[in-house]
Symmetry: C2
Subunit: 351 residues, 2 copies
Amino acid sequence: MATTPGAPALPAMFARYRDRVEQELFRSVPDGEDTALYTLLRYHLGWVDQQGHPQVNALSRGKALRPTLCMFACEALEGDLSWALPTAAALELIHNFSLIHDDIQDQDLERRHQPTVWSIWGMPKALVAGNALQCVGDAALLNISRLDVGPDTALKVSRLLTESYMDMIQGQCLDLAFESSTTIGTQDYLDMIARKTGALIRTGAEIGASLATQDPAALAAFSRFGDSLGRAFQIRDDYLGIWGDEATTGKPAGNDIRRRKKSYPVVFGLEQAEGRSREDLLKLYSQDELDDEDVYRVQTILEETGAREHTQLLAETSAKEALAALDGISLPSWAEDEAEALVDFLARREY
Amino acid sequence: MATTPGAPALPAMFARYRDRVEQELFRSVPDGEDTALYTLLRYHLGWVDQQGHPQVNALSRGKALRPTLCMFACEALEGDLSWALPTAAALELIHNFSLIHDDIQDQDLERRHQPTVWSIWGMPKALVAGNALQCVGDAALLNISRLDVGPDTALKVSRLLTESYMDMIQGQCLDLAFESSTTIGTQDYLDMIARKTGALIRTGAEIGASLATQDPAALAAFSRFGDSLGRAFQIRDDYLGIWGDEATTGKPAGNDIRRRKKSYPVVFGLEQAEGRSREDLLKLYSQDELDDEDVYRVQTILEETGAREHTQLLAETSAKEALAALDGISLPSWAEDEAEALVDFLARREY
């Protein structure tokens, strides 16, 4: 699939916070004496190659959505951005810890255009590296207590992050349970991703906001904003996992189907398909391996059920709901414009 | 090996704290709605069987050394025991998280006389369960902020635990690196276990003490106490891994040799062995599998180098160092007696 004309570019806020967030991340995972461990982490984060030599390759770094959102929420509510930095870094580190472990679980060989940590260093080291990154994330968060936010706020932020992390893990657990079930409905799926992907994204917005204000209306608005935005992000991700362009996404086309992943379009398709189509879909998803023709057949069935249009529509509806969540509170006009650019990007991005 | 006459029994302090610690643990891992995940955790902790039905089987529960030590340090310094409970629970949960992941890494099929989590539920679910337990541990620690210890103390404890957890992971990483090296010396090995096993044990004593007093001499004494005690514990563990009795330890005799684990006696043996013995030892440890005869040959070489006596001597010397660390501070006589019983148990236990 070629890039859609008018596909949105990465909104300006990503570039605005990038340097400060990266500095904070660099401090958390220093090029120190324990190179054996830290090289794995720095490699996964896209900063160095397998030998630990610096590499400049923007493609192998993530978008840093969670930290960006945390910084944005704080700035939009006129908070002190330096207060949001420790949480921003912690969110990115914890998110990346979950990716290292996800790659082990799914036996994925590539992420962000490069070999995964476990595929290079083996499962045991990748497992420990993931745990180390989670721990580095916890430590990054504790830097907040060095600022003058006060110990109560520091503890509150710590509690929000721990709860969110637990929510993420419960979501991962539901996701694993879904793998062996064919009776998952779209609502089950949406509940699962609200935890697995949504928790850290929502928490980024919540913590960023709570470092700037104690106004309950503003906090609730940013929580709902993060929630809907997380759904828009994941549903568009699911779309790209089936209909995305390999060169842009860094993943083979139809990748999610080949891995028999029960992403939103497939759950929707299983709900909607009837007769022969439904039988085929169930049969194909019970095979050990799917060849190109099988993947094409699944794509065709999904198109027939309207899964493609429906999935994209859900991403865009969720994006609109995210914006609507901010309606009731007063934000500077630059922040309103940027929120709009952000949700539009997340719902229509090509990568 | 039969039980040595006079092998020490579990000291009384374990029984004294057990119920309160278990209550705190039960609260942390409730039999809740997310049974799919929590059953794995409760099973690993020895509370329920694979179906989630309660089982009373003391053998499948751990000794709870870390929480016991935390409670003891707090009580010996006349602190409020209820303050030590959240940390005690967190230490036990984080320790058990590392065991679930260790079993995945080492592909171990049994722990504490029952099948390991990954061997029942598969690697992906065990990986997530481990992460969940770590998170439950973090959450358990945050309960301390509900007590009147004050937010500064709560944050300090949180920082100590995070640092200790990172130390443990760095130790695991060194341990993995050692697996592929034949040039590890006994000092490298002692540095590694001071982190991998020692960190959480030392931190238990440190945090327990710091919840009772701010006296730097007492804090330093309990830190050194925990450090030496952790070494005594691990070195005796290494002894039992080679010369322990299967029925008592719950692990096959010679288990560590069969798994080609470079535990202390082996590292010592490799340093000391010469000529044919050294060649045999290196050759056997480079084989993919070891049969009973191979295990016996390794045991014989180790005995020849004096590894058996030397290992036990180191465990007992470390135990004495632990006691000596408390010499300079004033403790109630019951606490002195119990410290003595504890170090004696750790250095000479049969399980």
